[in-house]
Symmetry: none
Subunit: 196 residues, 4 copies
Amino acid sequence: MEREDLILQVAEDVLEEKGYYDTSMEEIATRVGIAKGTIYTHFSSKEELVASIFARDMNKFIQGIDKLLDSGQSPRSRLESLLNYFYDGLYSRRAKLLTSTFTGVDLKRLISSKNGSVHQMWDCIVSKVAKLIEEGKVAGEFRNDVSTQAMIFMILSIISPRVYDHVLIGDNFTAKELHQQLISLCFNGIISPEDK
Amino acid sequence: MEREDLILQVAEDVLEEKGYYDTSMEEIATRVGIAKGTIYTHFSSKEELVASIFARDMNKFIQGIDKLLDSGQSPRSRLESLLNYFYDGLYSRRAKLLTSTFTGVDLKRLISSKNGSVHQMWDCIVSKVAKLIEEGKVAGEFRNDVSTQAMIFMILSIISPRVYDHVLIGDNFTAKELHQQLISLCFNGIISPEDK
Amino acid sequence: MEREDLILQVAEDVLEEKGYYDTSMEEIATRVGIAKGTIYTHFSSKEELVASIFARDMNKFIQGIDKLLDSGQSPRSRLESLLNYFYDGLYSRRAKLLTSTFTGVDLKRLISSKNGSVHQMWDCIVSKVAKLIEEGKVAGEFRNDVSTQAMIFMILSIISPRVYDHVLIGDNFTAKELHQQLISLCFNGIISPEDK
Amino acid sequence: MEREDLILQVAEDVLEEKGYYDTSMEEIATRVGIAKGTIYTHFSSKEELVASIFARDMNKFIQGIDKLLDSGQSPRSRLESLLNYFYDGLYSRRAKLLTSTFTGVDLKRLISSKNGSVHQMWDCIVSKVAKLIEEGKVAGEFRNDVSTQAMIFMILSIISPRVYDHVLIGDNFTAKELHQQLISLCFNGIISPEDK
DNA sequence: TATGAATGAGTTTTCATTCAT
DNA sequence: AATGAATGAAAACTCATTCAT
């Protein structure tokens, strides 16, 4: 079991670093310090390995989401908590990898076609977010003139990893500060209040 | 010349559909109806082919942007025009492919490391958007409490292609309508006006 | 006709410089300043082109040999003339290319299997040398205790091109001087006269 | 290890038979009875494979040379032993392949440019031969009126493989007998003793 | 359970040769 | 005769996967 976790850990690192195609089983094995074949005693294929990365601890992660959503706070507060949870939660890296499937051509097919379980997790999260938005609309906190789907898109965009982070983030901001600003934009838009 | 354009056309299709690594020269050739070697009489390598896709007509595209930005309208109007231009402009597909490099792990290296020209185009567009935002801030139209960088992120997120479009878009909305809603969110946020 | 000669000229240059496999029809055409296809209007294949290089002016070359051999001098003198003729004759480069087939793995099959004409030329020259040696033996000038074949080998070795010429030839000798010394060795061996 | 040796063995055969360019990894694999990819688990590239052929047992071979040269016999005897050692020594085939780089255009680049180790081995052997010749000159056994370099050329010529062996060797001589005659020629030249 | 050598299908790329213009 | 775009067979090399030990 420990070994399995170690493989997942390393695989996740390499995957994030190099992308799906530039990640070879050889490199994962070498970094873990085991033989290539050993990986296959734990995971039946490269795809299954990646799916396992996504699935790992995902139950706990979703439980964390549920906890937030059941906190009794206003929808707006809960959404803010959710965005922060995605950003710096215990499983944030996996979450980012998962949301990267939202835009990446890379993991597209992997997720959409084969691994039903990953797809389910994804749908599960999306439906929770949708439910939260709907609540916020009913409560009058969120706009009613925009579809829930569009809002989901916006939210997912914020928590998706951006390849050019390192290019665009200057010395003025940390990634964390940028994230806060994006939340603010998500909530209030870029238009100056006086102009509304 | 016609043949070259045809190759680029088909390559763009396959690239969008399958991603860089799952796109083989063989398939491109087959779909075009030519021999594999023929591609190499027009493009010296797979990388060069992809770079050519990005580069194609990109000058015209950037000229289109310049035209919009010089229209004399308010920054807000110009930004709206820009977002629509990206969405349904003559070269929208290429633009989307380009912005997909914003999130995709796939084309990351291709863009960042080798093809200087693609990188330049990208920087050129980003700096134009940045300039527009700064103008809007000075004019008081855009918020001054959020960094230009964060706004750029938001804007790029909207015009980036989303893999799950087909999944999330139901019967209620067309992609076009969704895009309009995203622009609205970008401008005004998801928070209801009464709550501000 | 002129064009054909120009192609042969250039092809010979490239062939000597790069070897058979690293010589591409493309490069020959480019250097000549014509299109690749044009070469094929003059020579039906790469092999035929190379064979033509060998064959070019070979009649004149062989006539030159005949002239030497008919000079009425002693076999020894005639052999010496022959070696020099090979070395700096008008067609020495082609001759060297030809004799390079004596050791090179490169042109081996090309010569031995297909091009009957080249093979014939080669046999023609070898038989002339053999005849000269036999004469020398009869005249008592050449040793009778060594087979004519061995002598031919030695002679061909001397006139074969050596790849490492440039490495081994120092500042002390020119290629010409080295050649003279090799002739001397061929005639008298490396053993000091006092020791015989 | 056995497998690696088998590959080297077969590769050597094919290389000798067909030359570098006409030897495909596919054919080597097929002849060995293994898959193409297997070769690459042992040798990282075609070049490395060929370099390994040269390097194989070469240390032992050079030790054999050292043993001969330290035998205390006269330079002439030692040279004779050396030539025979090259001819029928345990590693004669590899040695011949090595000396073939002396004339072949084929392996020229492979040796001269990349594989430093092969180049070193070559230089090592050449310098040993040079030293022996110098000794012989000092001892008065070898001629002083001919440069050491020329003598090296002659000696290397004798031990180089000759493509046309099979053509020129008739029924009268074996390759071994021919070799002995060439040694005799190398020592005493082709001129009859009475004529000197 | 772990190993790592072996596999072979698949990929990019090259280049002699052809052929419509 | 000349062109040069098009061809396609063949090559080197990669890597996820298998399997005997």
